[in-house]
């Protein structure tokens, strides 16, 4: 009798665990199915007359890229792949590219060609490599260190680079902080005043492009009050520096008595900046409200969403884009392939938002700003869309691709790099 009961109990327990097991199996199957979404159904949406060629399907953790005078595509990787941080790709006749060489034992973001050199950046320094007459890197394993010892925290640590025509290189040094609070991202935590971060970060520094081993002491703080910049480019038509700054986060989490979750999703602007020597864009004291169209005093410094206080007279952006779209690349188009309206205009690659939740995530696209004499000349428009692979996403992990880098091809085509799978597209114009 007792043993019969035991048997019954055993059957009962086994039955229960069987059900649990079955449920677990179903979830795994579902997860596997979801993981297989990358069977490619991503077609980029482009204006009429434009087409996209997938030059390479998946590479690595792509950041910025640059095209060499010989047409080779150089890609900087966030993290090493097989021990290397720079990949050289060469296109074949069928339009597909192959990795022909890799070098550099550091991850990073910046990559640019100038006056017979390749410049690259890690999160703490800038390097350069001399090119031979065929445009090839002569000593891939022996770069010259141009800048060293830059601040690299656990946020906004990547360094972007741009070069002018007077022998200078500009480096973004992002602030390792959201808004310079006593406790970073802490609820109700006040801002440090003055913000000590600004001495060595939260701005753009200028160095000599050909002087080895420079550190802060040899550099100039060219502009300040920028929280984090990833898209950075020199505009040759007006000989000035431009950048895309990532606005601050967490209005609602930190200041819920002032901002609701919708305001926190839309504010502040992602700023398109025209930068002059000595510019101050106000971070962390100020942010740009693209609805009120003014610099507003941040809540960490006593702001109430409308007062300007010390932010009056602060330098403002030339465009305030919607909040949190994460602009990761800026490129002034100087080619001849695209129609006239694109010449000297700005392409901006938005990596796409994460802190718009609970609203849908947005901005996973490349946009175009028509420009004349260095100023926007008409409304900006979406240029390339469809990177997410689906209509809507709630969380960034659901995006199949995220645009991260832009480069102009020798023939005037536009290259776009993706950071999720490492895809690279080449955008060509074949309309009339």
């Amino acid at each position: 009798m007792k043993s019969l009961c035991l048997k019954l109990c055993l059957i009962f327990v086994m039955g229960m665990s069987g059900i649990v097991q079955a449920v677990a199996n179903d979830t795994t199957k579902l997860a596997e199915k979801n993981g297989q979404r990358d069977v490619d159904n991503v077609v980029l949406k482009l204006p009429a007359g434009f087409g996209a060629v997938t030059v390479v399907d998946s590479l690595a953790r792509n950041r910025h890229l640059a095209v060499n005078s010989n047409g080779d595509i150089y890609v900087k990787l966030a993290r090493l792949k097989d021990g290397k941080g720079v990949l050289i790709l060469r296109e074949k006749a069928n339009g597909k590219a192959e990795v022909v060489k890799s070098f550099g034992n550091y991850g990073g973001t910046g990559i640019a060609f100038k006056n017979g050199y390749l410049y690259t950046s890690s999160d703490s320094g800038v390097y350069r490599y001399k090119l031979n007459e065929r445009g090839e890197v002569i000593s891939p394993d022996a770069p010259e260190t141009i800048v060293r010892g830059l601040v690299a925290g656990r946020q906004h640590q990547t360094k972007s680079i741009a070069l002018d025509n007077a022998g200078n290189i500009y480096v973004n040094i992002g602030a390792p902080s959201n808004s310079c609070q006593v406790e970073d991202r802490g609820k109700g935590s006040k801002g440090k005043d003055p913000c000590p971060i600004l001495d060595s970060a939260g701005g753009i520094w200028q160095f000599k492009a050909d002087k080895p081993n420079q550190s802060y002491a040899e550099g100039i703080r060219y502009a300040t009050g920028t929280r984090n910049i990833v898209g950075l480019d020199w505009n040759n038509t007006v000989n000035e520096l431009y950048a895309m700054q990532h606005g601050r986060d967490n209005f609602y989490q930190n200041w819920s008595e002032l901002y609701d979750s919708v305001e926190s999703a839309e504010l502040p602007a992602e700023e398109f900046l025209q930068i002059k020597k000595g510019s101050n864009f106000g971070w962390p004291y100020c942010y740009y409200d693209q609805v009120q169209k003014k610099k507003v005093l941040a809540p960490e410094y006593g702001g109430n969403k409308t007062t300007q206080g010390r932010c009056e007279g602060m330098d403002t952006p030339i465009i305030g884009f919607p909040g949190h779209w994460a602009p990761n690349a800026l490129l002034f188009y100087t080619g001849n392939m695209f129609p006239e309206k694109y010449r000297n205009g700005a392409f901006i690659a938005f990596h796409g938002s994460w802190n718009r939740a609970p609203l849908k995530q947005k901005g996973y696209q490349v946009i175009f700003v028509p420009m004349k004499d260095g100023k926007p000349n008409g409304e900006w428009e979406v240029f390339a869309d469809g990177f997410m692979g689906v209509q809507e996403i709630a969380a960034p992990r659901d995006a199949q691709y995220r645009p991260c880098g832009l480069a102009q091809g020798k023939d005037g085509s536009l290259y776009i790099s993706d950071s999720v799978k490492g895809r690279i597209w080449k955008i060509i114009y074949n309309g009339k």
């Binding site: 009961c5 109990c9 609970p358």
Partner: protein, 143 residues
């Protein structure tokens, strides 16, 4: 005899159910279900922006809360993450994450218990709840 079996198996089911509900009634905040519901509200306000509605986090910035060693592991450590925040390079499923999480010590013991109960029972996690006395104990050792 037959009757006996039925009674015994019924008894077993009752004991089984009792055993299941025991920890639930033990939490000061009422049942786990109530704790999960309250926890979701807290999650939506204070955690969702960074860790996302489905707990999937943000690639390379904010780690996921899906079956990580912190979420499913030692409750003391998990409670400490909430009370103290976190600022050390971490890796989850072979991916590194770089951002800081601020202290959430402003949440009351019961609120921390609720939000962690919600996290430990959502996003595919199936772990026991957290009760406010556990939070209280950890908070006391931190002072």
């Amino acid at each position: 005899m037959k009757k006996g079996i039925i009674i015994f198996s019924l008894l077993f089911v009752v004991i089984y159910l009792l055993a299941q509900t025991k920890p639930k009634t033990a939490s000061q905040g009422g049942t786990d279900k109530a704790s999960v519901d309250r926890g979701k509200k807290i999650y939506d306000i204070y955690c969702l922006a960074c860790h996302q509605a489905d707990g999937s986090g943000v690639p390379r910035l904010n780690p996921p809360l899906i079956k990580t060693k912190w979420v499913l592991g030692d409750k003391k450590e998990l409670i400490t993450v909430i009370l103290k925040g976190m600022d050390e390079p971490i890796e989850v499923d072979g991916e590194d994450y770089n951002n800081v999480m601020a202290s959430h010590a402003f949440l009351k013991d019961q609120e921390v218990a609720d939000v962690l109960t919600y996290v430990r029972k959502s996003f595919g996690n199936k772990a026991s709840g957290v009760i406010s006395s556990e939070v209280k104990t950890v908070r006391a050792t931190m002072k």
